[in-house]
């Protein structure tokens, strides 16, 4: 927190004149750091307020220290508050301007605050642990004995902690809830430097104790136990075992990966007691071939990542030479920050968040340019007032300060409203997922102190950005000049305003181009045939592996009951069980095809899923040949299977696949009875792979049924179906571990997530930016036309053609627009590189998008100049000449 604020302060130091920054910048930053360290976040408002007022003062004094030996006279920070009521009165008197300005700032600052919070939670401080830069994670899972050996290497690590995750059913007040849990080594919290919020954390004694101790996640305790401190010491039933709450982990700590949100931390040694299947065996902790642990180490000072990895690899080879299995890949270490963001996806996450940051910063800049423009127009209108005040002996610095104060008041109101906008943005973003499957909702973004501190800094920065120029110009106004006719000596000012318009057009073009590119790639993505139809389907995932009491008989009974009840719900067209949803998880195995000798190196892996008879109708996958599964394909009937089109073409080319038979294990011969269309298994752009469907009733395997998904296709509203379905599932078996109940569309959202999010966010901000730019263009053209009223009046009086007058104003208005468009295309072409990874089916420099966007923006811009141009051409020359 302090570091973030200090960096912000450091960045804002660039607002000072270079001479001061060079001489004292580091010392000022040091002061800010000390103040933050000693007084906490409470020091921040004062630091930023000081910045806000001393920046203009220093510029003023730097510019006006003509020959005076000592410009000590000047404003002090004491007394600026007198300007606030005056500024408020002025703003009250021009409500239209005030509302436009406040809304612009609220949207801009709010969006920036929200995206900054996201960046804080992913890029700046993804993990709330002590000194994260020293922490490394093993890239692949390791076995418990290997972990124990490596943990002894105190020459490499300060310590090595182990964590293994799973899902478990916790009974909370009689209701089962399926949650992520982490089994951790006793040194886990100590190594990460995470304190307890309440109670105590896990220790060595918990490894061997008879009672199982558990540490709760703070956010879960807050939401599920309503912050009840009495939870510590109570027992909770987890997977049928009673565990005792020892304590609550520190607020903000979310484990060591953003892709999971562990709600409970349990001792590693308790794992076999709480898990079923192969994990429910003491040998899970003894077998070197059984890898399920993520090892996290804190490097000793002076030990590099490469050194540690080398030493560990040497050990690993030595330990495993006796193994008959071939050695797997080298063990690699990665910084914990990479692991937290999903390892291989970390780069994508960073780029995506930066892209979002770019969008909102651009929008805010466009807003600031617009406001500076509006302010300039107002300053021009107030030249007389300022002139009078100067003539009466008013101090220029005071006038400048007053003009700045208006901006500060506007920015502050905008910032306050911006907090509401940020809250809305948090809700909007919570519907999305970052690349790599990080649910933004799980990050728990909110208006915390970081967000508030950032908002304060943004208010300060924007006030300076859009307030300094008008304040400067206002204060420089000559007393005499401003009392004379306004229409002269304004060319510099309209040049500045035209420049601001050009900048707005350019930045809007960048945002519009982004929207266009994402829209095109989104359209491309949704046109890709999936092989299933996720619309109007509700899905309920059951985590059987998480429930110990669920043996095969009870599971089967529940499956049957649930299916009967689901099919009776109103509007249900089809309902069926499957072990895996397309693109959500996958399972594959090697098969042997009867009567076919595999070529050397041929890959005979099939993706697999166990599905019930009505599955293909429920999922919306078309049957191309043969028959679907039938109730007759029961556990005792001969094994049958259905393959996809790719498998049929690859392995039974020129033959009838319905005559085909294949074997998963020796005695299990499966007769092919049908062929279905190909479905996506992971991502949109993958090549189709062979797929084998087996009857749900015949499913078996080493792990038994660990997971099942119920698909319910409805002809009505799928969201209305969800609560009804939950009721029926509970009625079928009140203890059934329902891990998630949501729509199929939501389950497969990751397929088009980056494009969808890109369209949504780029779209919202591009719309805002274009609106702002149109207002700006209109304002400037109208202003320039107003300045030339007298001239235009004379021209018309002398008989000038009105169409030519219109062309005159249009021409003048188009110059900044054309310049802005040209600059925008160049910037967009350069910046689009950032988005390359998230675009599909469209190159980042797609000429069609650029042309269409530029044409659209040009049309909007010309429309905005057309109105004042038309008005100017309809000017009544007599009235125009009579004024002044």
């Amino acid at each position: 927190m302090h570091l973030v604020l200090e960096r912000l302060y450091g960045a804002l130091l660039y607002a000072y004149p270079p001479s001061l920054r060079r001489a004292h910048g580091p010392a000022m930053r040091q002061c800010a750091r000390t103040a933050l360290a000693r007084q906490g976040v409470g020091a921040a408002p004062r630091l930023f307020a000081d910045l806000l007022f001393s920046v203009p003062r220093e510029w003023w004094l730097a510019a006006s220290s003509e020959s005076r030996p000592l410009s000590l006279k000047g404003l002090t920070m004491f007394g600026f508050l007198h300007d606030v009521p005056y500024a408020l009165r002025l703003l009250w008197r021009s409500p239209g301007y005030t509302i436009a300005a406040v809304l612009t700032l609220a949207l801009g600052i709010g969006a920036n605050t929200a995206v900054f919070s996201l960046a804080d939670a992913t890029l700046l401080r993804p993990l709330r642990v002590a000194r994260p830069s020293e922490l490394v994670a093993f890239k692949w899972s390791v076995s418990y004995p290997d972990y124990r050996d490596w943990a002894a290497r105190t020459d490499l690590f300060e310590g090595l902690a182990a964590v293994g995750g799973t899902r478990a059913t916790a009974m909370i007040e009689g209701t089962p809830e399926v949650i992520d849990v982490s089994f951790v080594s006793p040194n886990y919290f100590g190594l990460l430097g995470v304190p307890a919020y309440a109670g105590r954390l896990l220790g060595a004694a918990d490894e061997s104790a008879g009672d199982i101790a558990v540490v709760l996640d703070h956010a879960w305790w807050r939401d599920r136990f309503s912050r009840d401190p009495g939870v510590v010491g109570r027992t909770i039933r987890v997977n049928g075992e009673l565990v005792t709450v020892a304590g609550i982990a520190a607020e903000g700590f979310r484990g060591t990966s953003l892709t999971l949100t562990p709600r409970m931390y349990l001792p590693l040694a308790s794992m076999p007691r709480l898990r079923g299947g192969v994990f429910g065996n003491r040998r899970a902790l003894e077998n070197r071939g059984f890898t399920w642990i993520t090892a996290i180490g804190r490097l000793k000072p002076g030990v590099s990542l490469a050194t540690a990895a080398g030493a560990i690899n040497a050990m690993y080879r030595e330990q495993h030479t006796s193994d008959r299995r071939p050695l797997s890949d080298d063990i690699e270490l990665e910084p914990i920050g990479e692991r937290a963001l999903g390892g291989a996806d970390a780069g994508h996450v960073r780029t995506f968040v930066r892209l979002l940051g770019g969008i909102v910063v651009l929008t805010l800049l466009i807003g600031c340019a617009n406001l500076a423009n509006l302010q300039l127009a107002r300053a021009a209108a107030r030249r007389r007032e300022i002139g009078v005040r100067l003539a009466l002996g008013g101090s220029r610095l005071r006038i400048g300060r007053q003009l700045l104060m208006e901006s500060v008041v506007l920015a502050s109101i905008g910032g306050a409203l911006g907090l509401l906008v940020a809250n809305l943005m948090f809700r909007l973003m919570a519907r999305f997922q970052l690349p790599g499957g990080i649910d933004i909702e799980g990050l728990g973004l909110g208006l915390d102190r970081v967000a508030l501190g950032f908002t304060a800094a943004a208010v300060c920065g924007t006030a300076l950005l859009f307030g300094l120029v008008p304040a400067w110009q206002g204060a420089r106004t000559g007393a005499l000049a401003s009392l004379r006719d306004q229409t002269r000596s304004t060319s510099a000012r309209s040049r500045l305003r035209s420049g601001l318009v050009a900048a707005q057009v350019a930045l809007s073009l960048v945002l519009l181009t982004g929207t266009g590119l994402f829209l095109r790639s989104f359209l491309d993505a949704i046109r890709v045939p999936l092989g299933f139809m996720p619309d109007n389907v509700a899905t309920a995932s059951i985590a059987l592996g998480a429930a110990k009491g669920f043996d095969l008989a009870r599971s089967r009974a529940f499956f049957d009951q649930a299916l009967v009840r689901a099919r009776q719900l109103p509007g249900v067209a089809a309902a069926e069980w499957a072990t895996i949803l397309p693109t959500v998880g996958s399972m594959s195995a090697e098969v042997a095809i009867e009567g076919r000798t595999p070529r050397t190196g041929e890959d005979l892996h099939f993706y697999m899923a166990d599905v019930g008879p009505d599955y293909f109708r429920a999922a919306g996958t078309r049957l191309l040949r043969g028959r679907p599964f039938a109730p007759a394909d029961s556990a005792t009937a001969p094994p049958v299977g259905i393959v996809n089109q790719t498998a049929a073409q690859r392995f039974w080319a020129g033959q009838d696949p319905l005559q085909g038979r294949l074997k998963i294990d020796k005695d299990h011969v499966i007769q092919i009875v049908g062929v279905v269309e190909d479905t996506k298994t992971h991502a949109l752009d993958e090549p189709a792979a062979p797929f084998l469907y087996l009857p749900f009733a015949q499913s078996s395997g080493p792990f038994g049924l660990t997971r099942a998904v119920l698909l319910v296709r409805t002809t009505g509203d799928v969201h209305a179906l969800l609560p009804l379905l939950r009721e029926q599932l509970r009625a079928a078996d009140p203890e059934a571990p329902v891990a998630s109940l949501t729509t199929f569309t939501w389950q497969v959202r990751k397929l088009v997530m980056p494009q969808q999010m890109g369209v949504a966010l780029f779209g919202v901000f591009a719309l805002l930016a274009v609106t702002l730019a149109a207002i700006g263009i209109y304002g400037v053209t109208a202003y320039v036309a107003a300045l030339r009223r007298r001239e235009i009046g004379i021209r018309i009086a002398l008989g000038a053609d009105r169409a030519r007058i219109r062309a005159l104003v249009l021409r003048q208005g188009s110059i900044p627009i054309a310049a802005g468009l040209a600059a925008g295309v160049v910037i967009a072409a350069l910046a689009s590189r950032l988005a390359t990874a998230f675009l599909r089916g469209v190159p980042p420099r797609d000429p069609l998008t650029y042309t269409a966007v530029a044409a659209l923006l040009a049309a909007i811009a010309l429309a905005a100049t057309w109105i004042p141009a038309r008005r100017a051409s309809q000017l009544d020359p007599i009235r125009a000449l009579r004024i002044d």
Binding site: C31, A32, D50, S54, L72, T76
Partner: protein
Amino acid sequence: MPKNMPDPRSFVPLTPAIAHILLALADQDRHGYAIMQEVERLTDGAARMGPGTLYGTIKRMIASGLLEEADERPDPELDDERRRYYRATALGRAVLAAETTRMATLLGAARAKRVR
């Protein structure tokens, strides 16, 4: 008082910031953060200076000869970081004396008229 020193009275009245900084440095050399703290203490928290105001003023005071940089050393009370210390020059002290005299005269006159 050295020769060629400008007349300290030409500097008064001082802005509050300058007066406070000179006052804070009257008894000992201090670094920036310590000056901020001392000003706050001297005025019972009524006058609070931020780094921008402080260093902007310090820069001008050095340029006009009221302050000079002393040495750079760590402050044992804060942390181990090295900090630049500042000291009031002879002129600075004379200016503070002139300001104090001015205010004392003002105060005397005000008391005589029972303003306060």
